[in-house]
């Protein structure tokens, strides 16, 4: 039985009157990628920073690689890679210089030129940190998190503000980290990121875990799929409903716009088109809508991820 990479048990964190984390529990298996999803203010960063040893749990416990992040900080810090949401470098430092400095704190760091190349930091040249673009600063932050060859990395919104190309490069990097045996915990506002990278997605709101599972589990459990089409208004949908298994629903809203909800299979689709044919009606704009994690999220929290 291996030690979990992260084990958070009933964590409570308050700032004055505000409860940021409210009885949160979480377990991360080694060498897997876990995405923490949640709206702004859900408690993601507080939870992450408690794992990183910045905050002492007010109640409950946090273990990272089996260690207490505050009391055993000295033993844990070398095994940890941390990417903060912003900042973390001197304003006048150059990217390669900063990376070289961070590497110098470790006994067996990655070769700095390799990391510079892999993360496209050579383009930073001699520009001081304060004048780097947001994307360059993000990539440097990521490089600083991995250069010490950590066992576990905590990435707080690693792709926020990145262009699509840099985002893809970051995704490939995270995929390789997990493949090479590194545990990755990341927070994100991007659904496609969680879907693509994470073996496990944890949805957090109001400081609690409101859902967790693989992206596929969440999508099938959280919401149904739909068939949408338009046709002339006022069709008798009862007949279609009879043609479908019990758990399906059919609504017309607004007039002329029909929505069939339930598991979409070839049989469902055939039933819909057969019903239309029986009425001699042509279904226009027929769309099969697979619910995304975004819909799941909206259904669970009532909030959009990116507000």
């Amino acid at each position: 039985m291996s030690v979990p990479a992260v084990e958070v048990t009933d964590l409570v964190m308050r700032y004055g009157e505000v409860t940021a984390v409210d009885g949160l529990s979480l377990r991360v298996e080694p060498a897997t990628t876990t995405a923490i999803l949640g709206p702004n203010g859900a408690g993601k960063t507080t939870m992450l920073e408690t794992c990183e040893g910045y905050r002492t749990p007010q109640s409950g416990s946090v273990r990272v690689l089996g260690l207490d992040p505050v009391r055993q900080h000295g033993a844990l810090a070398p095994r940890l890679g941390v990417m903060l949401q912003a900042g973390g470098a001197w304003s006048g430092v150059r990217a390669d210089e900063m990376l070289g400095y961070v590497a110098s704190l470790y006994a067996h760091p990655l070769a700095v030129p390799d990391v510079v190349e892999r993360l496209g930091l050579a383009s930073c040249g001699r520009t001081p940190y304060r004048r780097l673009s947001g994307g360059q600063q993000q990539r440097l932050g990521l490089a600083m998190a991995i250069v010490g060859r950590p066992e576990i990395v905590f990435l707080d919104e690693p792709t926020a503000g990145l262009d699509p190309q840099s985002r893809r490069a970051t995704w490939e990097l995270v995929e390789q980290l997990a493949a090479d045996g590194v545990s990755v915990v990341l927070t994100t506002h991007y659904m496609e990121e969680a879907e693509r990278l994470a073996r496990r997605v944890v949805v957090v709101d109001h400081g609690r875990v409101i859902a967790s599972g693989s992206p596929g589990e969440l999508m099938s459990a959280g919401a149904k799929n739909t068939i949408l089409f338009t046709a002339k208004p006022g069709l008798h949908t009862d007949e279609l409903l009879w043609a479908l298994p019990e758990e399906y629903s059919v609504v017309e809203e607004p007039a002329g716009h029909y929505r069939v909800e339930g598991e979409v299979t070839p049989h469902t689709l055939a039933a819909v088109t057969a019903w239309c044919a029986s009425l001699d009606v042509m279904p226009e704009d027929l769309v099969i809508g697979k619910h995304s994690l975004e819909d799941v999220f909206l259904a669970l929290t009532g909030k959009r991820l990116r507000s």
Binding site: Y54, G87, E97, L105, G148, R149
Partner: protein, 259 residues
């Protein structure tokens, strides 16, 4: 795309001494790159030294050769500029930019961070003292007391550095970066003018003497002027500096906010 880079974990901290030296070098490089800091560290002290030695009519420094009175005072100013003003401003911005926070999650322990800072500021001070003393000697400075005076001066400079650095960290750890920038420069100017740094205490009104003597600037500069004039070290001046260092050190350790 792949560069054949392997991320297979191999975590381990570097040795403590290697981390400290690396940190000190980094701080030193950044400081040397910063023009304002160099202005504070060398240009202003040297201007005061060369200008002050010539302009006898502007400021009365009292009895004795002007350069002999001036040089120890400018050394005190240099110590103050590096260990207080530079350190406070640099640390405040490290806090502001999340550098201290980020390093908090690195293998560099806080003791190593502090020692790295101290080493880098001692290196700067050593360079400052060499340059200032060399220029002073060229301008005709005659320090008295020989090696014992040099030893006493180093004791005073070390105690002064401890006092000013503790005060600088106290300011950097509690105020916002902008407030520290303004405050550290203000304190520098106020002590330069009113803290017996360059103008000896004897030129101040008598009722101010106890107050100014109790300031770290007064204790350091007066102490340096005394030993360079051939007097033996007045240990109570070192005690004043040590009390400042201890008081500010305790307050700093209780109030310092890392982010």
């Amino acid at each position: 795309m792949s560069t054949g880079l392997s991320f297979v974990p191999a975590p381990a901290a570097n040795t403590w001494s290697a981390m400290v030296v690396s940190h000190a070098r980094m701080e030193l490089r950044l400081l040397v790159r910063n023009g304002e800091q160099l202005l504070l560290a060398l240009v202003i002290p040297l201007l005061l030294l060369t200008g002050g030695a010539e302009s006898g009519k502007v400021v009365d420094l009292g009895a004795g050769r002007r350069i002999d009175i001036l040089t120890p005072g400018v050394v005190a100013l240099a110590v103050m500029s590096t260990s207080f003003t530079s350190l406070a401003i640099a640390t405040a911005f490290e806090r502001r930019y999340g550098v201290l926070k980020r390093l908090g999650a690195s293998p560099l322990p806080r003791s190593g961070l502090l020692l790295g800072k101290v080493l880098s500021l001692l290196a700067v001070e050593a360079a400052q003292l060499l340059v200032i003393c060399a220029v002073g000697l060229v301008l005709g400075w005659h320090p008295h007391g020989g090696l014992p005076a040099l030893g006493a001066s180093l004791v005073l400079a070390a105690a002064g550095t401890a006092a000013f650095a503790s005060l600088g960290l106290l300011m950097a750890g509690t105020l916002r970066a902008e407030a520290t920038l303004a405050g550290a420069n203000l304190v520098y100017v106020v002590l330069l003018v009113a803290g017996a740094v360059v103008v000896p205490l004897s030129k101040y009104p008598g009722w101010l003497h106890p107050v100014v003597s109790a300031l770290p600037s007064g204790a350091l500069a007066e102490g340096l002027r005394e030993v360079c004039a051939g007097s033996s070290l007045a240990w109570w001046r070192v005690a004043v500096l040590v009390v400042w260092a201890a008081a500010a050190g305790v307050l700093t350790s209780r109030t310092f906010r890392w982010e």
